[in-house]
Amino acid sequence: MEIFFFLLFAIVALACALNVVLQKHPISSALSLVGVMVSLAVLYLMLGAEFIAMAQVVVYAGAVMVLFIFVIMLLNAGAETRKGGSITAQVLGIPALLAFFAALVFLITTYYPGLSPVKFGDFTGGGAREIGMKLFSSYLLPFEVTSVLILIAIVGAIVLARKELD
């Protein structure tokens, strides 16, 4: 059963990922990225990470991607002109990419052959309670730091984006 869902969403994710890279117009790549994120959210669910899946949808798909779409819409820059990318990049890029990917796969398969199969109910640790407990006990400092980080990001974004009050 799980294999069906896994394959389904894996293929969806991969297709959307390729779409992100190959599409000419940023909007379509943005939307395909949303697709990737949602399919990943589902995969997280399968891996028992409910809170993270929902957070993924809320934060990533719901907020970050909307930001992207906002920017794309506002800028309305239109499709990217396919200025002749250097052939060498193409010729070199693809095989290099495949090699890179093959190296990854090789490493994973050789070093993590006997990993346990994933069953849906196996690991129920991903709930909000466990994460909440952990977050405010042993990971309190990173939590505070990230909160400060976000504050900085917000202030930064505002300062950068607002029109000059000339």
Partner: protein
């Protein structure tokens, strides 16, 4: 304690007085202090020698320790024994005569006080050399006299030739001193001390090789100082200095220092036959070589300079063949007649208003009779005319040479003949014939002719007056000089007279003949006249390469390009290394991206290759 230090102290005092206040003192005062200090020193020497009990064993007087570093202990101490006594007499005696002579000769020279100051300084160093009781103090005197000869040769410092000659003299002496210094190092290494009595006491026991090495090094020093073959070039040039300087330093005293040193360290020489032979050979070769050059010289002082070199060759021959006392005897007698020759030449030049070229002189017997007479005695002595001082000492050397090696005798006798010929040639050219120069010569004042007369008496009577061998008899434990072969003396006298006769015939009877012979000999004559181009040879082989070599190769080449190049190169390279890295920051974001990905990939591969072992793996 006869506080021998007073002997050198007096001339030193003279030097200090003249040196510091000379400029302001009148000429008379200057000459007075100078002459007085030397004469007093001579008197004190006589007093010391008379009061000394027996001079067989050297009485060492220690004043203060000069250098003391660990095992190396050198004291400032003097000693006097028979050899020193003779040398003292010669130095102070002839020194005072020359001081008197030079008051006249230098009368109207500017820098009068400077001349006498340097002369006194010379006396101090020479006395120090002679009186020293250890090698280091000898070395002090050794270099001191070298310095004074530099100062005196370069007295007329405005003339470049004079200062060049002074430099040349000092540097060649320095090369000699190099030999003596190395000898002293070896002596200390082997004998653990530089004091004469310790060294000579232990000498017999030491290995012959070391002793030979020491002896040879000492020979190098002596050759440097006494102008022997390889290092004689500075003496002829030393004639640039005033004549009394040549008389005192380059005839009587300084040049004999080499012979004195060999005589002093006779114990070392005796125990190294190889060294003895080399000394003899060097002496003989120099004698012959200098005599041949002497034949063709026209400058009167050059002739006598080469004759000094040749006579010194004889002394070294005497020392080399083991006849130390004969060598010293010849040294003494040579001091008398050679000083006389030079002073005579001085008064001749004085007479001819500074003219030195014999071709411009002639017929002076009418104008300077006293000089003519005294110079005659000297010439007789040097030619070895029977019963003159030169005859006795030269004959002793010839006999010893014969005993040592017959062929040496024949070469020596032939050179004796040549000596007689060129001295008398000079004699006849200056005093016989008519006066070829312009101006009118006149006789020198009595302050100059006085010492000439005394010296003439000494050179004639010196032979039997100071019978050196029997004074020094016991000092040199060397085998007896063999039977007094009468025949050898006859042969030597015959050669001498033949030399005089030939000179008389060539230069008085028909004076045109020598020019014809000279032109007929052609190349050979010019070769001899130009002193076998030895100076030029040295200049080309040694001086030019060092100077130009060090300028172009060392200074410009190595220093500037190689070493400095490296230093500057390091600085420059730092810049272009920076240049290379600059390209990494190309500002193109996609190139940064590429570098990031490549970095990631490499890291990944490394981890892969390195194995996840360090990551502990999951299992």
């Amino acid at each position: 304690m006869q506080n021998l230090w007073i002997i050198p102290a007096l001339p030193l005092l003279g030097f200090l007085v003249n040196g510091i206040f000379g400029r302001k003192m009148p000429k008379l005062m200057v000459s007075l202090t100078a002459v007085l200090s030397v004469v007093l020193s001579f008197a004190y020497v006589l007093f010391v020698l008379s009061s000394a009990k027996s001079l067989d064993q050297p009485a060492v007087e220690h004043y203060f320790t000069w250098i003391q570093s660990g095992a190396f202990n050198v004291g400032f101490d003097y000693q006097v024994d028979k050899l020193t006594a003779i040398m003292l007499l010669v130095v102070t005696g002839i020194g005072s005569l020359i001081h008197i002579y030079s008051t006249g000769y230098m009368a109207h020279e500017e820098g009068y006080w400077r001349f006498f100051a340097y002369l006194n300084l010379f006396m101090f160093f020479m006395l120090n050399l002679v009186l020293a009781a250890n090698y280091l103090l000898v070395f002090v005197g050794w270099e001191g006299v070298g310095l004074c000869s530099y100062l005196l040769i370069g007295f007329y410092f405005t003339k470049k030739s004079a200062t060049d000659a002074g430099n040349k003299a000092f540097i060649v002496n320095r090369i000699g001193d190099f030999g003596v210094a190395l000898a002293m190092f070896l002596i200390f290494i082997t004998f653990k001390s530089l004091d004469f009595h310790k060294v000579f006491a232990l000498a017999p026991g030491k290995p012959v090789a070391t002793l030979t090495a020491i002896a040879l090094l000492l020979l190098v020093g002596a050759a440097g100082k006494s102008a022997q073959l390889p290092l004689y070039v500075w003496l002829p040039d030393a004639m640039e200095g005033p004549t009394p300087v040549s008389a005192l330093i380059h005839a009587a005293t300084m040049v004999t220092a080499g012979v004195y040193l060999c005589a002093r360290s006779s114990v070392i020489f005796v125990h190294s036959p190889a060294a003895m032979d080399t000394v003899a050979m060097v002496g003989l070769a120099t004698a012959v070589f200098a005599a041949v050059i002497g034949l063709a010289q026209n400058d009167i002082k050059k002739v006598f300079a080469y004759s000094t070199v040749s006579q010194l060759g004889y002394m070294f021959l005497g020392v080399g063949v083991g006849a130390f006392s004969a060598g010293v005897w010849h040294l003494v007698t040579h001091a008398f007649f050679k000083a006389l020759l030079f002073l005579g030449a001085g008064s001749v030049i004085h007479a001819c208003h500074g003219e030195q070229d014999m071709r411009q002189m002639g017929g002076l017997r009418k104008y300077a009779p006293v000089t003519f007479a005294t110079l005659g005695c000297a010439s007789l002595a040097i030619a070895g005319f029977p019963f003159t001082s030169g005859f006795y000492s030269k004959d002793a050397i010839l006999v010893a040479a014969h005993a040592h090696a017959p062929w040496m005798f024949w070469v020596a006798v032939f050179t004796a003949g040549m000596t007689a010929f060129y001295v008398w040639r000079a004699y006849f050219m200056t005093f016989f014939g008519k006066y070829r120069g312009h101006g009118h010569p006149h006789e020198s004042p009595v302050s100059m002719t006085g010492p000439l007369v005394i010296l003439a008496a000494l050179s004639l009577a010196g032979g039997f007056l100071f019978n050196v061998p029997e004074i020094l008899g016991k000092m040199f434990q060397v085998e007896a000089e063999g039977a007094e072969a009468a025949t050898l003396t006859y042969i030597s006298v015959a050669f001498g007279l033949a030399g005089i006769g030939l000179a008389y015939f060539l230069y008085v009877v028909n004076s045109a003949l020598p020019d014809k012979i000279a032109s007929s000999l052609g190349g050979l004559y010019t070769l001899v006249y130009n002193k076998f181009f030895v100076d030029e040879l040295y200049d080309v082989t040694v001086v030019q390469p060092t100077v130009n070599g060090s300028r172009t190769l060392l200074w410009r080449g190595i220093e500037h390009y190689v070493i400095d190049g490296v230093v500057r190169g390091v600085g420059a390279n730092a810049l272009n290394i920076g240049g290379v890295l600059k390209h990494l920051q190309s500002g193109n974001i996609r190139s940064y991206a590429t570098w990031v990905v490549i970095g990631g990939a490499v890291l990944l591969i490394l981890m892969g290759v390195g194995g996840f072992a360090f990551a502990g793996g999951v299992r």
